[in-house]
Every structure is written in structure tokens, then in C-alpha cells.
């Protein structure tokens, strides 16, 4: 399935896919409900549940191994506005058909003439919210940083301590 518009550079596609996957289905539904002049949606591939095998690496950077599978849902849509057609695809972890379907719709909009509008109103807006949530969680986690100091070894000169 070829994208209808000029190819989006991988790092831009990665950014938008990250934000769309990280959003909740409810957030995307809200944005889509309020989208002006919504194009007609045709599911080239209706949301479909499946699996991906998640791999890790021994020791973190060594040989790959199969850790276990994760559920994933994928969808591909075509949007029609008059004569214009735009195709979008999404893969989203979990078992949420509506999430994958909506992510594919916004991916298609990103391949249409409305790209700039989606980038500002959907991607940037959601990204800011997600970054704020991440920052808040990290700040909470940073409050648990501990500074251990060893006791026994630091009071030198006491022979009775030797074991």
C-alpha cells in the first residue's frame, strides 16, 4: 500500500507514530469528533488484533532473545475528500480497535493536504500533554533518589571492627 503523498521522512513519521500510539483512544476520538470538514473514511484494513514478538538482548547489548509476545492492533484507512485520497496506517500496542482505527485516520490526514493542521492541533498538542505527564512522573521518581553511606568501613582505627 503506497502512501498517496510525498514520502514523509522516517524521523517525522516516528514522532507522529509515537504521539498517536501514546495518546488514549478517548483523546483521539475527541479530536476526531471536532475535526472540521471530516473526509469520508474507508477502511482498507479494518482494525485487526495480532501479536508482535518482543525481543530483548542478553545483558542489555548482547545476543537477541525472544522475551515474549505483546498484543498489537493495526488498521489502514483511506480518506476521501472530493478527488483527493490519502492513506494511513497505524500499529498500536494493546487490544483497542478504536485506538488503532483513529491513529490510522490521523496518519492518513498527515499524508493529506491537512498535514500542517494535524501537526499543530493534534500532534504538538498531544505531545505537550504526554511530555508533561512524563516529566511529572519522573519528578516523582526523582524524589526517591537515595544517598547511602557505608558506616562500618568509615570509622577507621577500631581493631574490634575487623571481621
Amino acid at each position: 500500500m503506497a502512501d498517496s503523498h510525498t514520502a514523509v521522512p522516517p524521523e517525522q513519521r516516528q514522532r507522529t507514530a509515537r504521539v498517536l500510539a501514546g495518546a488514549s483512544a478517548a483523546e483521539l476520538a475527541e479530536l476526531w469528533r471536532n475535526w472540521p470538514n471530516r473526509p469520508e473514511v474507508e477502511y482498507l484494513r479494518a482494525p485487526e488484533s495480532g501479536l508482535v514478538m518482543v525481543q530483548g538482548r542478553a545483558g542489555g547489548t548482547g545476543d537477541r532473545f525472544n522475551l515474549g509476545e505483546a498484543t498489537v492492533t493495526r488498521a489502514t484507512v483511506a480518506l476521501h475528500t472530493g478527488a483527493e485520497q490519502a492513506v494511513g496506517t497505524a500499529y498500536v500496542l494493546g487490544s483497542h480497535p478504536e485506538h488503532a482505527g483513529l491513529a490510522a485516520i490521523f496518519d492518513a490526514l498527515l499524508n493529506s493536504g491537512q498535514r500542517e493542521q494535524v501537526l499543530t492541533e493534534v500532534i504538538t498538542a498531544l505531545e505537550q500533554r504526554q511530555n508533561a505527564q512524563d516529566a511529572a512522573r519522573r519528578a516523582e521518581a526523582r524524589s526517591t533518589v537515595v544517598d547511602f553511606f557505608t558506616v562500618a568501613r568509615e570509622n577507621d582505627g577500631d581493631e574490634e571492627d575487623e571481621e
Binding site: Q14, A17, G60, D63, R64, N66, R142, S143
Partner: protein, 361 residues
């Protein structure tokens, strides 16, 4: 031999109705409540069910009325109904800042010791009521990078490297696709351990500490956090993020005196698991290291070092299947044993009768 039985449909149907009634309670708890408030339990079901999906694992636990192995079996069966779209890029566990990151070997590490959400240092006193205290957010300080402790050690050649210089990053075997054959690659063993029973691996790991194949372990690092999953779908043509999963990673660092081929340096055991599963990851790392005995020319004398023993018995779906099948009707089987035993008994009686009259002793 198992011979099929027929009948009993009505009784079985009623037994299942009774089961459902026993588990229904005053008020149903929701799967969401389970996954939010029993996250550690949900992690265990995802690990041993070998399927990351907290909502499905929570549903399975409810259906199984808290029977962990039953819930794991439900997840394992469910996964067989879904197509596999492909394989993800290998997780980069060093990437996102973890929520928890501790090292028992180095006090001062870049990024610091961060306890995160832990049961460590709690008083283990049963509470009358559960409270949710405020967590103060750390002010100002930007989160410093938290490199893996073993990577820091690795630079000074004190710890064995993760892979040799000439390394082709081999494609791992997949135990869900190919039958297990021994000896296994370390990658296949890690897959089996990742889905292995937490209790079994805990006991085996414990046995190595008590001297049954001692590997002198230190917890070099334990980290828990969310990691981005990257997947390359053919229709997209390159890797894109598809969401995040939470994982627990444990790096064990073990003594090694060296051999004719290898210098004395620390060796490593590795544990990786879905969700918050620290005990599992630590046990996995201990057993992983014990199973590398042959690699370091160590004498394999203990159960934890016996690859076939460990791998063949760590899967609790297989284990419980074989143990629990004993309670299914074995009437024909047992009848045959009974006939044989009666016959042998009769023969024994005749021979001892004869002997008793001849030999008073």
C-alpha cells in the same frame, strides 16, 4: 494410557455454574481495578503467560478467580488465536530513564540510586487500612542519564563483554515455533526462563546461593521502567514506535577465577521480565548464570546447572497440565492395574504358603 469416558454433561454444566457462583461475590471487581491495584500479580501472569497486555491478564485473573496458573493458561490459549505480525526491534533497556534503578555493587553511580516504587525497607506490618500519601516531586534537577552499571564496568574490562569482537548479532531461535532441543543457545534458554515459573526459578536461584552450583552473585543493577517498542511493518518500511511497555531488568555480576582461555573477570547473568517483576528477573539472572557453567568450564554438579532439567521443568503450564491430568478419570487404566495386582497377589500367596510350611524362618 488414557481411555476416554462419556456422559456427565449435566453434572459438568452444573459444576461450572457452581464455580461461577463461588467466584461472583457481593460485587464484581473490574479488570481495570485488578490491573491498577494488583499490578505485580498482573505482571506475573503476563510473564508466565508470555503475553504483554495488562488488561487481558487482569481479565484472565478474574475469570480464573485468582488461580495464577489458570489465568496463565487462559492467556497462552488466547495468544494461539491471534496472527503474529512480526518481531519488534530489540528493546533498548538503557534508553528511557527508569523509574527505579539500584545497584548493590556501586554506591555512587551516574544518575544515582533511585528507589522508585518498592516494597524494600517497608516494615512488613499488616495495615488496617491502605492510604495513598502524596509523593513530593523533586524540584528543579534535570534527570541525569542512567547508563547501565555493567556498561560502566565493561569499559574497564573487569566484566565480560556482552558479545565477542567479531559478532554477527545472530537471529535467536524461537521456542514457540521450533521444538526444544538440547543443548540450547543462551538466547533460547533466556526465552524459556522468561516464561518460566517464578517460584521454580526462585528456588533454583536460591539453591545456587546455598552452595548447589554457587556463582557468588552480586546484584549489579536492577532497573524498572517503561520502554518504547519499535516495530518495522512492511507497509511502513521503517521502524516506528507502537507504544511503551514496562519491564524489569536485572544484571547479576558473578565471580570468576579465569581459565586457560579467559582472564579472571566478573561474569554475568541476565534477567528481563514484563511489568514489575523484580523477584522473577533476579531469579532468572541467577539461573541464567548457573546454566552457563559449560561456557566457563565449571563442573556441572547441581540441579540449577543442568540445562535439560531446568528448561524441561520451568514451564508451569506444562507442569500443571501433567500433574493435574492425574485427576481425570483413569478407570480403565486403573482397572488393568487392579487385575494385574490381584493376579500377582494370588501368586504371591501361593508361593509364601508353600514356603511357610518348609521354612520356619
Amino acid at each position: 494410557m488414557y481411555v476416554a469416558v462419556k456422559g456427565g454433561e449435566k453434572a459438568i454444566e452444573n459444576a461450572h455454574a457452581l464455580l461461577a457462583k463461588r467466584g461472583s461475590g457481593q460485587e464484581r471487581v473490574t479488570a481495570q481495578q485488578i490491573s491498577e491495584q494488583m499490578g505485580v500479580l498482573v505482571s506475573r501472569v503476563m510473564n508466565e503467560g508470555s503475553l504483554y497486555d495488562p488488561e487481558l491478564a487482569a481479565k484472565a485473573l478474574l475469570q480464573a478467580q485468582g488461580d495464577v496458573l489458570e489465568a496463565i493458561t487462559l492467556l497462552r490459549s488466547y495468544r494461539t488465536t491471534l496472527p503474529r505480525f512480526g518481531v519488534t526491534a530489540a528493546l533498548d533497556t538503557g534508553a528511557l530513564p527508569p523509574e527505579r534503578r539500584i545497584s548493590a555493587t556501586f554506591k555512587d553511580i551516574p544518575g544515582g540510586q533511585q528507589l522508585g516504587a518498592t516494597f524494600d525497607y517497608t516494615h512488613r506490618l499488616l495495615a488496617e487500612e491502605l492510604h495513598t500519601p502524596e509523593v513530593p516531586a523533586a524540584q528543579g534537577e534535570a534527570a541525569e542519564a542512567m547508563p547501565r552499571v555493567t556498561d560502566l564496568l565493561g569499559r574497564s574490562a573487569l566484566v565480560e563483554p556482552d558479545h565477542p569482537q567479531d559478532w554477527a548479532d545472530p537471529e535467536p531461535g524461537d521456542l514457540t515455533r521450533e521444538p526444544a532441543t538440547f543443548p540450547m543457545s543462551r538466547a533460547e534458554r533466556l526465552q524459556a526462563l522468561a516464561r518460566g515459573d517464578e517460584g521454580f526459578l526462585l528456588s533454583l536461584g536460591y539453591s545456587t546461593q546455598r552452595g548447589f552450583g554457587n556463582t557468588h552473585p552480586f546484584a549489579g543493577e536492577v532497573r524498572i521502567g517503561e520502554i518504547e517498542v519499535l516495530f518495522e511493518a512492511p507497509e511502513i518500511g521503517h521502524e516506528v514506535p507502537i507504544g511503551r511497555i514496562e519491564v524489569t531488568e536485572c544484571q547479576m555480576v558473578n565471580q570468576f577465577v579465569g581459565s586457560a582461555e579467559k582472564p579472571p573477570q566478573f561474569t554475568r547473568g541476565y534477567g528481563l521480565s514484563f511489568g514489575r517483576a523484580e523477584r522473577k528477573a533476579m531469579s532468572m539472572a541467577l539461573v541464567d548464570r548457573a546454566l552457563r557453567a559449560a561456557e566457563f568450564g565449571e563442573r556441572a554438579v547441581s540441579p540449577a546447572q543442568d540445562e535439560e532439567f531446568v528448561i524441561s521443568h520451568c514451564d508451569n503450564v506444562q507442569a500443571t497440565g501433567f500433574v493435574e491430568h492425574l485427576k481425570l478419570p483413569h478407570y480403565v487404566d486403573f482397572q488393568a492395574e487392579l487385575v494385574l495386582l490381584r493376579q500377582l497377589g494370588a501368586e504371591f500367596g501361593q508361593s509364601t504358603d508353600g514356603r511357610a510350611s518348609n521354612d520356619p524362618d
